[in-house]
Symmetry: C2
Subunit: 105 residues, 2 copies
DNA sequence: ATCGTTCATCGTAAATATACGATAATTAAA
DNA sequence: TTTAATTATCGTATATTTACGATGAACGAT
């Protein structure tokens, strides 16, 4: 494609699409679950629990952070990631809105 | 990458990831909304309402159909698409479950 | 039988995603 | 001040996604 046409839609639809994209890999869904279940949330702990290399996990974390689904806080030589509940709550709200429009459920 | 590692996760996480992927482009979200709002749902009507070519829209429809979010029924030379409420209801249920795990909302 | 309409598929190009190892940057510890 | 540990980034390879025009297949109408 010469260029993407994703900008030619409403901000709302684009935001939902971006959030959905962030959730479109099982590793990233898994990461969100891990961050919820663990007290500690440093990268190493996440890598341990996934069948992926450290660099790949780092990339997945970057994508989740990019849409603000998670936050990362530097803690010495480590980085502690955690869920961003504000974004997640907004995502749930917007998703519910979408489903209320397109589905009788 | 030599090969994808998406199979090394739970069926549940993979299914959620696949549904999310289907929703990861604003055109596809728009299509679902159009299918809900219109009585008629032939491809031409959808193409009219999107800034994309017929072949591109056809590809997006294929992706939505692939995960059973929509059904297509042949009607003479036309194809009539509609929302698959069963899949959508399941998606809503599984998404709610995910959010209940990862978010206090 | 031919023609026009409708839609999917093919071929293709460019962008993005996925994955890894290697390396750089940062900090704590020895 | 080296060293070890931790994580991000770079470089790279391959796969997938997005987009389009062209073509083909199916059907109704003439």
């Amino acid at each position: 494609m010469a260029f993407s046409k994703k900008e030619e839609f409403t901000k709302e639809d684009m935001w939902l699409a971006d959030i959905s994209k962030a959730l479109s890999h099982p590793a990233r869904i898994r990461i969100l679950k891990i961050l919820t279940s663990m007290n500690s949330c440093m990268v190493g702990n996440i890598v341990e629990q996934l069948p992926l290399s450290q660099s790949t996990v780092s990339q997945h974390l970057k994508e989740l952070k990019h849409v603000n689904l998670i936050d990362g806080e530097i803690d010495g030589p480590r980085v502690c990631y955690c869920i961003n509940n504000k974004t997640l709550a907004r995502a749930k709200k917007e998703m519910d809105k979408l489903y209320s429009i397109i589905c009788d459920c």
